[in-house]
């Protein structure tokens, strides 16, 4: 059990982290109000869109972060999403399984795809990015060969549930709780953290590094497919992609993950991810009010993230420099006293 001092420090850091989305909201709201007399949330549709978009992005970001935090950049995640939705989802529709069946089957296929990639990774042990490219090519081809018309949920009976904002938010919350329990309160999570520190030390301690990596891949595949089905639920359709264009599906989720990794000094990654997602959502909502194209929103968002990373990096380095200087001075004082 943590003592009160540590708990207070944790809460203080969490408060600092929460200042980011709050600050972003205030700044964007102010700018929109002053310049174009618009608000971020003008109608109920804005609220439901906000929850839908954040919900799906949070689940995708969790899927990305699991492997990324361990130094494995898996570029096949987008293709795993395709397998889950185009193959699993279409099979479920053909079997008439309803929304829950569609969700379950898509997630199962996503887990399967993740397991395949993970199994190849742990047996061949080639760099994850390289393997990701190869598997993306294969999975894309398989998905398109199976379902070249895509995956459409619009107009399918009872599938409206999958696009419901509260349903999506509920699943995002479930994923968040799952990740907190898994990463912070389970043996798997402790092993995961140990492996992140040093693989060789973890192996020496008796941790099954390869099993852990395999499970990570399976969870990533399942979560990204879950995000895919929910996203298809509210967009209405999911079109297939070829020529490694699925890699951009994965990359769109990297932005909040990068920010979340920077926020790790204040709170755990599993909390930092929803904070980052919400922060960026406020920003992109503000940009869209200016009627700039979606591409512009993406450029501005990345630019701001880059500036933020530069600024925090500089700040941390200056802080470390000052701390070092202070210790040097203290040491000098002690030496002179002796």
């Amino acid at each position: 059990m943590k003592n009160a001092k540590v708990q207070f420090a944790d809460l203080k850091n969490l408060g600092k982290a929460l200042c980011l989305p709050l600050g972003m909201f205030l700044i964007v709201e102010l700018v929109c109000r002053i310049s174009i007399s618009r608000n971020l949330f003008e109608t109920s549709i804005d609220i439901t869109n906000f929850f839908k978009s954040c919900g799906v992005t949070i689940i995708s970001a969790y899927a990305l972060s699991i492997n990324m935090s361990s130094g494995r950049m898996d570029l096949s995640l987008g293709a795993q999403k395709m397998v889950g939705c185009l193959i699993g989802g279409n099979i479920a529709l053909q079997l008439g399984l309803g929304p829950w069946g569609t969700l379950l089957l898509s997630v199962l296929f996503g887990i399967l795809a993740g397991l395949v990639v993970g199994a190849i990774f742990i047996s061949i042990r080639m760099p994850a990015m390289v393997l990701g490219i190869g598997m993306a090519l294969v999975f894309e081809a398989l998905s398109v060969a199976f379902a070249n018309e895509g995956f459409q949920l619009y107009g399918q009976s009872n599938m409206g549930l999958l696009g419901n904002a509260w349903f999506i938010s509920l699943f995002a919350l479930i994923c968040m709780i799952f990740m907190i329990l898994l990463m912070q309160h389970s043996k798997f999570g402790y092993h995961y953290s140990a492996i992140r520190g040093s693989q060789r030390v973890a192996i020496s301690s008796g941790i099954n590094v390869f099993g852990n990596a395999l499970i990570c891949y399976a969870i990533c595949g399942g979560m990204i497919s879950l995000a895919g089905v929910l996203e298809t639920g509210y967009l209405g359709y999911f079109l297939p992609a070829l020529n490694m264009s699925s890699t951009t599906i994965a990359f769109s989720g990297f932005v909040p993950v990068f920010l979340a990794m920077t926020l790790q000094r204040y709170c755990h990654l599993t909390i930092a991810i929803p904070i980052s997602v919400v922060t960026f959502r406020f920003l992109s909502m503000g940009i869209s009010l200016f009627r700039l194209p979606a591409a512009a929103s993406s450029v501005i968002t990345m630019g701001i993230l880059l500036l933020f990373l530069i600024a925090t990096g500089q700040f941390n380095r200056n802080k470390a420099k000052k701390a070092l200087q202070k210790r040097g001075e203290e040491a000098a004082v002690l030496r002179s006293a002796v």
Partner: protein, 445 residues
């Protein structure tokens, strides 16, 4: 010692690679006179066609033609594999290939990347193709390097890009363009607007102009047609030329001269951006001039539910299961999600093939008008209800439901139809691609 050996090997290797690369500096203009058997046979058939047509003009053919044409290969450059192109692929590979003794090569998705299209044309030539059909997503002048490459390699070329002939009609291997009838598309849209909105009420319109701002002629024409229909219906006065308004590149509410009729030009492609425009409930009509409805349908449904209103949707779309779903999905007002659809059919796809085959069989002259390649028009269909769409959805799904069966298709090729001329082809395509004609000739159970 070992590193010296490695260096020596590296140098030898580099020289080998450089020599191989210099091999690439050979003149690729020799393509048309290379020893490639396919280009030889194409040249031969053109020569013989020329001589026979010369002779034919004067005295009648001296040499009888073979009953069955030589087998040939046609390459198809595909921009994107949507429902229409997939059906066409099946029609070509599983039906026409056997009936016409033609081999087809389909590209991967080329999008609008000119380099990829060029690479495919070169690969097609290597494979022995004699003609290239362009179903890519190119626009404007991008078609010129593709057509020129085909000219260089001696490949007959046709496309479905409206207005493509402007820069390429002088090329000897360009056989023509097959397009949806842009001369009447604006009238068709006008008709749909009046049919759907002719209740005497005023309706505010979001006009999704898609690629009009980047120069897509068909989408400009369609957008102008809608603006004209609105002008005629409500007595509007626009502040600028309708073509300029259609080509605006940002979301803009335009001046209409009538206070209670709003029109917003929407040149974007995402549902989120459309949601921003529709969310306040001011607009109750969305007209989409390209096959983009799939991206917008969920957003429109959501806005209807949130604002408890009915948004009329008039759109271009393809004959596909997704359109069937859209027609049969009721919005919150109990109406189908689509109120009127302008359906693009596979007729123009078949036309592109017919044009290329005429070129390959040496009858290019027969399909020229005033010595130049022409644009051949294919009819688009209008559909207002799910009942009507029920039968339409079955088109091109089996041998009994193709718009052109093998015999009808052969009538578009001079090799099989000696009386074919450019004019007769034009009339034939217009007539046989119409909805009435197809429904008369086919039974849809």
């Amino acid at each position: 010692m070992k590193s010296k050996m490695k260096r020596t090997m590296s140098i030898i290797l580099t020289f080998t690679i450089c020599l191989l690369m210099f091999a690439g500096c050979g003149n690729t203009n020799s393509g048309s006179s290379s020893s490639s058997p396919s280009s030889e046979s194409a040249a031969v058939s053109l020569d013989s066609a020329d001589s026979s047509s010369d002779a034919g003009d004067a005295n009648g053919s001296e040499e009888p033609r073979a009953e069955v044409p030589e087998p040939c290969t046609v390459a198809i450059a595909v921009g994107t594999y949507n429902a229409q192109t997939l059906k066409a692929q099946k029609y070509f590979n599983e039906y026409l290939s056997k009936e016409l003794n033609v081999n087809f090569i389909f590209s991967e998705e080329l999008g609008s990347d000119v380099s990829k299209n060029l690479a495919f044309v070169e690969n097609a030539y290597s494979v022995g193709a004699q003609g290239v059909i362009d179903w890519a997503m190119l626009s404007g002048d991008d078609i010129i390097p593709i057509a020129e490459k085909c000219e260089q390699l001696g490949l007959y070329f046709s496309t479905w890009l409206v207005g493509a002939l402007d820069g390429i009609s002088h090329l000897e291997h360009v056989v023509g363009v097959a397009a949806n009838n842009d001369a009447v598309i604006d009238e068709l849209f006008g008709e749909m607007i009046k049919e759907v909105l002719g209740d005497g009420e005023k309706h505010n319109l979001v006009l999704a102009t898609a690629g009009a701002h980047s120069g897509s002629k068909q989408q400009v024409i369609t957008s102008v047609g809608i603006l004209e229909a609105y002008r005629d219906m409500y007595g509007l006065t626009y502040s600028d030329d309708m073509e300029k308004l259609a080509m605006l590149d940002s979301v803009t509410e335009i001046e209409t001269g009538v206070d209670d009729v709003k029109i917003t030009i929407f040149p974007k492609f995402t549902g989120d951006e459309l949601s921003n425009v529709l969310k306040n409930g001011e607009y109750d009509v969305v007209a989409v001039v390209a096959n983009l409805y799939l991206r917008f349908e969920s957003v429109i449904k959501e806005i209807e539910e949130a604002n408890k209103m009915d948004i009329k949707v008039i759109t271009v779309t393809e004959i596909a299961d997704t359109t069937y779903n859209s027609f049969n999905t009721l919005d919150s007002s109990g109406n189908p999600s689509i109120d009127a659809a302008l359906l693009t059919t596979s007729g123009k796809i078949s036309l592109t093939l017919a044009l290329v085959l005429n070129g390959i069989y040496g009858d290019r002259d027969a399909i020229l008008i005033d010595g130049k390649p022409a644009t051949y028009n294919n009819q688009s269909w209008i559909c207002y209800s799910p009942e009507e769409y029920e039968a339409i959805n079955k088109v091109d799904t089996s041998e009994d439901t193709y718009i052109y069966n093998a015999e009808e298709f052969k009538q578009m090729i001079k090799f099989y139809n000696e009386d074919l001329t450019a004019k007769s082809l034009m009339d034939y395509a217009q007539e046989y691609s119409s909805k009435e004609s197809v429904f008369e000739r086919r039974v849809f159970n």
